[in-house]
Symmetry: C2
Subunit: 217 residues, 2 copies
């Protein structure tokens, strides 16, 4: 796979910009569990996911986490290049959830091309607007949706991402995605189990009544 | 006041772009309480606040509100031009909190100039990143900060904005800013009053111990 086949606005860049990108873009394998970006790390650059999966999350002083968005194939992460973006004033952590392969545009090259190319700047704009929309959606969920609905939605989403009804995930991990405590997750999962919507075993959650979970969501 | 004196990147635009802006930008007075943008209204355009104050908020089906950010003098609102921005998939309502004067760049002119001007596109980028940072900050507050701290922070912020220790604001309005129910606000305000941090009268909240509120925050 070549970078230019994955980078949607390749054809809107000038020859000189394309050449600079080709000369500097890096392809890197990332092991599952690797943190590729957080507030205290040096600025990595723009990340384009060729294969694999990443999770972007924030955490509190007490160590509670909440997933803000995820990155799948062809997705772009701009916050790993936050040094280039003015006015980004929050820390986000980006971690590989699966063994992944990414393309990286170094920060200085990204900055240079954004400054001279309106298509590139507008593309970054579009990606940022997409992230902002995800954050706004999440905010509405947290503000106004009860926890049973959020948990049902999460299990259905995971099932879609993993293409399986059996999810290998701990209660702790679910809590970290949803920004709550493990006990709260365990209690609600047990309720779902009592209602025959799911079956719990050590380390897995099996969806047995997808329809009722969907009705909850 | 002229538009160009308020628009920070004026000098980075070409003569032709400046001319198009000068020919199309509109100056409009907006009465306190006017809703200038929401999901179902036609696309207004980019808003530059010359004087006054606006509030951007979202609301739930049940009518609960939460303030996402505010706009003061010289601030720019891009979501009132969301038709021009790709990937903006949320509804936000923007309401004048005071009698205000705004400049409006029509959507088609904004789109045209963004498409040809990297400085303009990057400026929009910068504004969007600022808003995103505010939303992330708010998310952290809602997720991890207890309500007494959020309320104390809100009262102090209001006092700063209004430059007064006596705030003319109802419990209902405070609830709408903070995304909670009126009863929750009333209960916490009474607690603050019992602790001699504030004094309540009909329609006002008076800060009498700013230092202790600051310690809470």
């Amino acid at each position: 796979m070549k970078f230019e086949d994955n980078f949607l606005i390749w054809n809107k860049l000038t020859k000189s910009q394309q050449d600079r990108l080709s000369a500097t873009v890096i392809c890197r394998k990332v092991k599952k569990g690797t943190i590729v970006h957080n507030g205290s790390m040096t600025c990595l650059g723009l990340l384009l996911v060729e294969s694999g999966q990443f999770r972007a999350y924030i955490y509190s002083e007490e160590g509670r986490e909440v997933t803000i968005y995820r990155l799948f194939e062809m997705d772009i992460c701009i916050f790993s290049a936050s040094c280039v973006m003015q006015n980004i004033q929050f820390d986000i952590t980006i971690e590989a959830e699966k063994d992944s392969v990414v393309w990286i545009i170094p920060p200085n090259v990204l900055k240079e091309i954004m400054e001279e190319s309106a298509p590139m700047a507008n593309y970054m704009n579009q990606i940022m607007a997409g992230r902002l929309s995800e954050v706004m959606w999440l905010m509405e969920q947290i503000m106004w949706k009860s926890f049973d609905k959020r948990l049902a939605a999460f299990l259905l989403e995971e099932s879609k991402v993993e293409d399986s009804l059996v999810l290998k995930i701990t209660h702790e991990k679910i809590a970290n995605h949803l920004g709550t405590a493990r006990e709260v997750v365990t209690r609600m999962l047990r309720y779902f189990q009592n209602e025959d919507m799911i079956r719990l075993t050590r380390g897995t959650v099996e969806i047995i009544d997808r329809k009722r979970l969907e009705e909850l969501d």
